[in-house]
Symmetry: C2
Subunit: 334 residues, 2 copies
């Protein structure tokens, strides 16, 4: 392998962070290669393009006053990256050997090959945890009223003044429930135990709302739906099972928000010297995209348990490409 085989920048992951990094790196002449990954079920679908591929209406990504569908938006990101010369590879990166000195990193991919690069941008995202019901996945992927993000979807007209349910008992579930109280007639918080894991403050904040109703000791075992006047399947209720008595009952809701956490896609990095927090998120020590290893950068949800929005991920992708360009220049690798 000659040194010309060492790529300047390899990007792992193809959501808003990865593609924004690709757009910036390509425009800067860094000839980035973006590993967009292999489609899989885990248990929900994991697709090139990331979580937005499962989002019907993106209303809050700035620049689209009328909204845009997630897949459409990601197609535009990709087109823009390819226009400037980013090269796509449809494989997963399965294992990384990072050079502690940051000169040449080696990535092993799902086709049994490997690629070497001076700079690696990790933007593999995080996936929402799902309950694992067939009806849940079907409605979540067709705009049927099931979502894993209240901040993204809660303000949609279909949820206004309707009874909605949130499943979960942690801080995120409370945040989602609180957000929904502004739009819903009633927010049912479904939790499998008889107390919440969420902090006291978060609990108080939600439980003090007039339109919140707790449903304790219950799990969701099915989503009920009916075709609307356009022939599109919409949620009409959820089937609950009492975790103590085993009894089942139906609860009428027009939206279900699954808030049982996210899992960052960092498993393939666990044998590296990178730092992770307790939940597995990549830790970035400063305000930049730099990790603890020179030439390795993090961007998007994989390194952000807090905001997790398309536009914040895109911003971080831009930072990573600019940091990489700057560092490669400083180290005479351009």
């Amino acid at each position: 392998m000659s040194d010309s085989d060492v790529k300047k920048v390899v990007i792992i992951g193809s959501g808003p962070a990865g593609w924004t990094a690709a757009i910036y790196a390509a425009r800067a002449g860094l000839e980035p290669i973006i590993y967009v990954g292999v489609p899989k079920q885990d248990p929900g679908p994991v697709l090139p393009g990331g979580q937005l591929m499962l989002t019907n209406d993106v209303e809050n990504y700035p620049g689209f006053p009328e909204g845009v569908s997630g897949p459409e938006m990601m197609a535009m990101f990709q087109k823009q990256g390819e226009r400037f010369g980013a090269r796509i590879v449809g494989e997963d990166v399965e294992r990384c050997e990072f050079d502690p000195e940051g000169k040449v990193h080696t990535l092993h991919t799902s086709d049994g090959k490997s690629v070497r690069a001076h700079a690696v941008i990790i933007s593999t995202g995080a996936t929402a945890n799902w309950l694992g019901l067939e009806s849940e996945m079907r409605l979540a992927t067709t705009g049927g009223g099931v979502s894993a993000c209240a901040v993204c979807d809660g303000a949609l007209p279909m949820f206004r003044d309707q009874p909605l349910a949130v499943v979960g008992g942690g801080d995120t579930a409370m945040e989602e429930a609180h957000h929904l109280t502004k739009f819903a007639s009633t927010v049912y918080v479904i939790h499998r135990r008889d107390e919440l894991r969420a902090s006291k403050t978060m609990q108080d904040r939600v439980l003090s709302k007039d339109n919140v109703e707790m449903v304790w000791n219950s799990t969701v075992v099915d989503c009920l739906s009916e075709k609307d006047s356009f022939g599109s399947d919409k949620i009409t209720g959820i089937r609950l099972k009492d975790t103590k008595t085993g009894e089942e009952r139906d609860l009428a809701v027009k939206g279900l928000f699954v808030a049982i956490g996210h899992t960052p896609a960092t498993k393939f990095l666990r044998d590296t010297a990178l730092s992770f927090d307790d939940a597995g998120y990549l830790v970035l020590p400063g305000r930049s995209s730099r990790t603890g290893i020179p030439g390795v950068y993090g961007a998007g949800d994989v390194a952000d348990a807090t905001y997790r929005q398309a536009v914040t991920a895109a911003g971080m992708g831009c930072q990573a490409a600019l940091d990489a360009e700057n560092d490669l220049g400083e180290r005479g690798l351009l």
Copy 2:
């Protein structure tokens, strides 16, 4: 004044950061008011919408594969914010009285009025410093080949394989020059003295490039231009004056990049308890948008001397709105 007069969120500044904060805050039901400012000359134009109002082709904001003009893009941001109910006020905020406990902040505006708010998002941006030439401003605002951002504009087709000039001697000028070496036939770096202020590393990085030529002891006193086949005025050269001999000569270039620094719009905040760095940028201590004062947030170029891109500013605006929503909820102010 009753407590109902206290707004939940006031946003100061209307570039990508301000409008993204407005979109998110409005969708979260926080009824934001955005002070978009009064148009002025300082010495270049300062407009509601920010620096993008002076940018003809935005090729790197993700989501627009064919590019978009800066003013068009900002019109879309505004439309999106207004769609969700953000309220616009066409005044400047001239003075802030921040409540150290973060409960009620008071802002004094250019119409002699004041507004009170629980949360204040500062997204007033930064303006590029210009040479102050009439020809420079005219060409900069009409896509004539004068720019204050090589990362934004350097990759445009009009600059490919052409002689380009960068004015400045600091680190930013070196970064801009380095970025341009990838596209230009020759990059002339024009500096009024006979040594650079830039760090040794940055100097080496640029001076080692074959297509960089230093022009010492020189200032740009005029931009020369000709109408192209579409009747649009394009730069054809610059008039240089030797700072030692006073002699003038013309240098043929197809692009001029003014890199003599930026000035963050923080003057109106100097008598507050906020922290600023030496260059006047608002300091955000952590990875969030929170400043040292509870309920006061920073977003976009006003708090970012490093990246200064539309998409990074937009990401920061989103963070500020989500941080504000979260904090207001925690403190029972929603």
